[in-house]
């Protein structure tokens, strides 16, 4: 660049600065050259530089669930619910992901360099993998929800965190269990696996080989980083669409076997009722409106984007409908983005509230044709007389009604 051109550029820059300064000065008279900024600043810290932190103004947190405090007096964590009322999109941040343990558990503090996964039993080649071994294997990354069997709404609950907070969705990365089982060479007649963790209870679950070979994942990562300790660091099993307890955390062993083992976790599902047994396995089609939801307050009538989550253990969500009149009429909601199999799916609905009392509901249909029922439909199917209290068989996937009062307050409308 010649010096003549450089001089000319400097001249132009000064002219612009002078002109804009004068212009602003005429209107607001700030100190020359300053623009309005935030009122306060945060000085950088090594900690926040290393691993970011959310704003101190964002206070959404998990809460203990099911009437037992976590941690309890011994320091055991039992059930902790995610703040779905604040959720956006479909990913639950790892710090807010719900968690459950078999009977209350200390969270294992595992050195991944010393962790192993053993696959043995009815196989040709029993195998032990280190974490480094597993990360060499072909991997997949998939969105999947996990939901606790205890995620059951009742009239005593107020917020969607209490009624539905025992479900979450993350992006999981790991090796397909089928890849590992094929590597080991499963014998004919080996119709079951037992998957077992390393925590002090050593929680173990029996799973059918058909599921193990279909879509189960042995996961070492969630949401772009290592699986969190509460979620099973360094390794957990993901059993897409099955009740939470099957998703064995701190996974160290898979035994290939020829029978249902009736482990303690399996015993928790024990029932005399074949329908209950079937409905307490794969999770049904389910949805809930997260905004507006119980305990929230609408500032007044007018436009709102109603928003919620839908999911199914049977496949992908194919349709979500919303009712604003307590289930008398239904309108299709918009499914946001791609509906992934066995994953939370965000839906929205454009709503103009006229300011009168009304009842909001959502209803999910999945791509194997199952439809989320109302409690009344469940009662009718099982011939339960009207008015008689009952518990939805198996996993409760019934419709959640929210009543919006004329003052804009939102309430759980389960009778």
């Amino acid at each position: 660049m010649s010096s003549k051109q450089s001089d000319r550029r400097e001249f132009l820059k000064r002219s612009v600065a002078l002109a804009s300064g004068l212009g602003l000065g005429a209107a607001t008279q700030p100190v020359l050259g300053q623009l309005p900024g935030p009122e306060a600043h945060q000085h950088g810290t090594d900690e926040i530089v290393a691993y970011g932190k959310r704003s101190r103004f964002v206070t959404s947190v998990r809460i203990p669930h099911g009437g037992r405090h976590s941690p309890d007096t011994f320091g055991l964590d039992f059930h902790i619910a995610a703040p779905l009322q604040d959720s956006v999109g479909v990913i639950t941040p790892s710090s807010l992901h719900y968690m459950g343990t078999t009977r209350g558990s200390f969270i294992p503090d595992i050195d991944p360099d010393k962790h192993h996964l053993m696959i043995h039993g009815m196989v040709d080649n029993p195998l032990v993998f280190t974490m480094a071994d597993l990360k060499r294997m072909p991997s997949v990354t998939r969105l999947h929800f996990i939901e606790c069997a205890g995620n059951r709404s009742s009239s005593r609950m107020t917020t969607v965190q209490e009624t539905h907070g025992m479900t979450s969705c993350a992006e999981w990365t790991g090796v397909l269990l089928s890849t590992l089982l094929k590597e080991a060479g499963v014998h004919e007649g080996a119709d079951w696996i037992v998957a077992e963790g390393v925590e002090e209870v050593k929680g173990a679950s029996s799973l059918p080989m058909t599921k193990a070979m279909d879509d189960c994942l042995v996961c070492y990562a969630m949401n772009g980083e290592a699986v969190r300790p509460q979620q099973g660091f360094p390794l957990r099993l993901l059993v897409p669409g099955f009740e939470g307890i099957f998703n064995v955390k701190w996974l160290r062993r898979i035994k290939v076997v020829d029978q249902y083992y009736m482990t303690y976790n399996d015993y928790g599902h024990l029932t005399q009722d074949p329908a209950n047994a079937a409905l307490g396995y794969q999770i049904g089609p389910k949805s809930v409106i997260t905004y507006p939801s119980g305990g929230q307050q609408l500032p007044g009538h007018g436009f709102y984007e109603v928003s919620g989550l839908a999911w199914s253990g049977g496949g992908a969500v194919s349709r979500v409908e919303v009712s604003t009149d307590g289930g008398r009429t239904w309108v299709d909601a918009e499914i946001r983005g791609t509906a992934h199999p066995m994953a939370h799916t965000r839906f929205t609905f454009q709503w103009n509230w006229d300011g009168t009392e009304c009842e909001l509901q959502s209803r999910c249909t999945d791509d194997v044709g199952q439809v989320q029922p109302s409690r009344a439909q469940v009662a009718e199917f099982w011939n339960i007389p009207a008015g008689q209290p009952f518990s939805v068989k198996g996993q409760d996937n019934s419709i959640q009604p929210w009543r919006v009062a004329s003052d804009g307050s939102v309430h759980n409308a389960i009778a």
């Binding site: 032990v128 249902y260 083992y261 303690y264 005399q272 409905l279 199952q370 989320q372």
Partner: protein
């Protein structure tokens, strides 16, 4: 020549009979074989047929002593109920009662005695898991089964007799259904 043909036919025989004599070979060759010691140390889930049970034995009497000395009573109550932990004994209404009448009382409701043994072995006592010897687990299992009128006083339990115990719920529970991908969770149930 004829002989060679015969040999070839014989070597094909296992295939024709559907016998896969040859082991499946790994595709990736990652990982190593566990040692027998490693497998034995971790192979703790006990099947209903009991093949993983370690050699050992125990009695009701020893179990009743251990129930106190191992502090089981502190959480489960001195009589197996009334503590802060789940109850371990049915209401005292004698034998031949429906095990579904009670809550989730493991040593009466479980279809298999192996589940009782397995859970004591893997998960008890709270905070000291893995400290009980096999003999102690056999004794505690015997004591709890005695309290629930499943076995008689004086019964000796070991790795052979435990899986043979006829629990009252042995056949009185709903089997989990066969699972297949992309199927509704219960045929005929639209929800």
């Amino acid at each position: 020549m004829r002989l060679l043909k015969h040999v070839a036919a014989l070597s094909l025989l296992p295939l024709l009979l559907g016998v896969t004599a040859q082991a499946q070979s790994p595709t990736y060759g990652v990982g190593r074989a566990p040692t027998e010691v490693e497998v034995r140390a971790w192979d703790i889930a006990i099947s209903p047929t009991g093949e993983e049970l370690p050699v050992g034995s125990g009695t009701v009497d020893k179990g009743s002593e251990l129930y106190l000395s191992k502090a089981c009573a502190g959480c489960h109550g001195t009589t197996g109920s009334g503590g802060i932990a789940p109850r371990l004994v049915k209401d005292d209404v004698g034998p031949d009662v429906d095990p579904w009448r009670f809550g989730r009382v493991l040593p009466i409701r479980s279809p298999y005695a192996t589940t009782v043994w397995d859970f004591i072995n893997r998960a008890m006592p709270l905070g000291q898991e893995g400290t009980l010897t096999p003999d102690e687990v056999y004794s505690l299992t015997a004591y709890l089964l005695f309290l629930n009128d499943v076995i008689a006083d004086g019964t000796v339990l070991d790795e052979k007799s435990l899986p043979l115990i006829e629990m009252p719920n042995r056949d009185n529970w709903a089997q989990v259904p066969d699972w297949f991908p992309r199927q509704p969770r219960l045929q005929g149930y639209p929800y």
